[in-house]
């Protein structure tokens, strides 16, 4: 029997939608609010909407920040939206504050004349293959004011003014800047692919 993903609940706004999408995909998951309760070895899902610093503080208060930092690369982790940015080295939204450092780069703010936030549907394109993202890149729904520059970890890019990282992966650390749970059928397919890859990988860890 495959194990369930641990969805980390620290008050993030997109938790209910993300869980709804996982339920529709029949991907097993359990919600956890503190690190001590998370069973050993299971992959982690890090949702996120809102401010970088507020999210970091909420994760730290629950012991989840340390769990992510220490065990994320081994367990496997999927960060969504702000979750992706938290996995990186930091963000211009919180100057001087360190991110989890599991993915390359610091998120930077979109600047005018672009409308900020980058809100709406945009197209992804693949720059390298990764087994967690086997399906063809498609269109996805974005809502964000900060974005991760393209790096060696970039799997898919999206263009808003300039190219930025839409999907990133380093080993078992995965991140999606868009909202797969709000990106209709192609988004659900991508979310299902990534989460099943994380769960299957636990058999070998």
């Amino acid at each position: 029997m495959s194990r369930a993903l641990a969805v980390l609940d620290y008050g993030a706004g997109n938790l209910a939608s993300l869980e709804g999408a996982l339920a529709r995909l029949n991907v097993p998951f359990v919600r956890f609010t503190e690190a001590a309760a998370v069973p050993p070895g299971v992959p982690l899902v890090l949702p996120g909407v809102g401010h970088f610093s507020a999210a970091k503080r909420a994760l730290e208060a629950r012991g989840l920040w340390e769990l992510l930092q220490r065990e994320g690369p081994v367990r496997g982790v999927l960060g969504v939206c702000l979750g992706l940015q938290l996995l990186c080295e930091g963000s211009e939204e919180a100057p001087g504050e360190a991110g989890l450092g599991l993915l390359t780069g610091v998120a930077t703010r979109f600047v005018e004349p672009l409308k900020v936030p980058h809100m709406g549907w945009n197209e992804l394109s693949q720059v390298k293959a990764h087994p967690a993202f086997p399906t063809e890149p498609s269109w996805a729904y974005f809502v964000h004011s900060y974005a991760l520059p393209v790096s060696a970890d970039t799997v898919d890019v999206c263009v808003y003014g300039a190219p930025f990282t839409a999907i990133a992966a380093r080993g078992r650390v995965l991140g999606m800047q868009h909202h797969p749970e709000k990106s209709s059928a192609p988004g659900l397919a991508a979310l299902g692919g990534a989460t099943r890859w994380l769960l299957e990988g636990t058999d070998h860890v």
Binding site: G13, S17, G20, V49, M119, N122, V159, A185
Partner: protein
């Protein structure tokens, strides 16, 4: 490259059911919000706006129930508006699963709630709904209380203020054009679209060309109700027209979630 123009369907909800007014008198029941939302998702609509026209406090639990049912089943973003009176209402709707909350009258009465909402939840989920009508002498003016009361605010001034206070999107409805099918109010749209936040045009859609006009005039999204409800225009046909006109929209996919 820019983000795709969003095609948005609007649904009026009363006591947990989607309704449509017939000549301002009786309300016709169009069905369950969840069922209609799923249908629009499958048809290729990019986003939904639900306006709750139930004006009672007792509505709250009913509202939370349908909002959370929609959130569990829908895989495109949706905004909920109607009767939002304070930050507590916004928190309640976001917790129930709404992606964005639209504020109209109350934002004019207590504009500091925009700052509070943006600070607590982030600008991305704070939508300011503005109903405007043109006065020959004064230009576009903002109306509140479902378009019944004219304020002293010009469209220009109110747009600048809500953006400064942290609004993340403007839902601009033309009272003059609403229900006419004569096309969106492009003058009002151009004024609001000068701001740094996305503007959704509402009121007046009648043909595919009207949507193209609004997107070219600076709208980030275009909203219609009757055209889609009555299947006068399908999202697939509208998007095919816009793509042929060189306007970037998300293609309609064959499969549904």
């Amino acid at each position: 490259m820019n983000v795709a123009g969003r095609i948005i369907a609007c649904l009026d909800v009363k006591r947990g059911r989607v309704v449509k007014g017939v000549q301002f008198k009786e309300l016709r029941d169009l069905g369950d919000p969840v069922e209609l939302a799923r249908r629009y998702d499958a048809e290729g609509i990019d986003e939904l706006v639900f306006l709750d026209i139930t004006a009672t406090d007792e509505n709250r639990s009913t509202q939370e129930a349908w909002v959370s049912a929609v959130a569990r089943t829908l895989s495109i973003p949706f905004t909920v508006g109607g009767g939002v009176r304070g930050v507590a209402d916004i928190r309640r709707l976001l917790r129930a699963g709404a992606d964005k909350v639209a504020i109209n009258t109350q934002a004019v009465l207590t504009p500091e709630m925009i700052d509070e909402a943006a600070a607590e939840f982030g600008s991305q989920c704070v939508v300011i709904a503005m109903d405007v009508a043109k006065d020959a002498a004064l230009g576009h003016r903002v109306f509140i209380r479902a378009g019944k009361e004219r304020t002293e605010l010009s469209l220009d001034a109110w747009t600048a203020e809500v953006v400064r206070r942290g609004a993340g999107e403007i839902l601009l409805t033309s009272i003059d054009r609403d229900g006419t099918g004569d096309g969106f109010d492009l003058d009002a749209l151009r004024t609001a679209a000068k701001s740094s936040v996305p503007v959704v045009a509402s009121g007046g859609a009648g043909t595919e060309a009207h949507f193209a006009d609004a997107l070219r005039a600076g709208a980030s999204g275009v909203l219609a109700a009757t055209l889609f409800h009555e299947a006068i225009l399908s999202p697939a046909r509208l998007k095919a027209h816009l793509l042929a006109e060189g306007i970037r929209v998300r293609p309609v996919f064959e499969s549904s979630p």
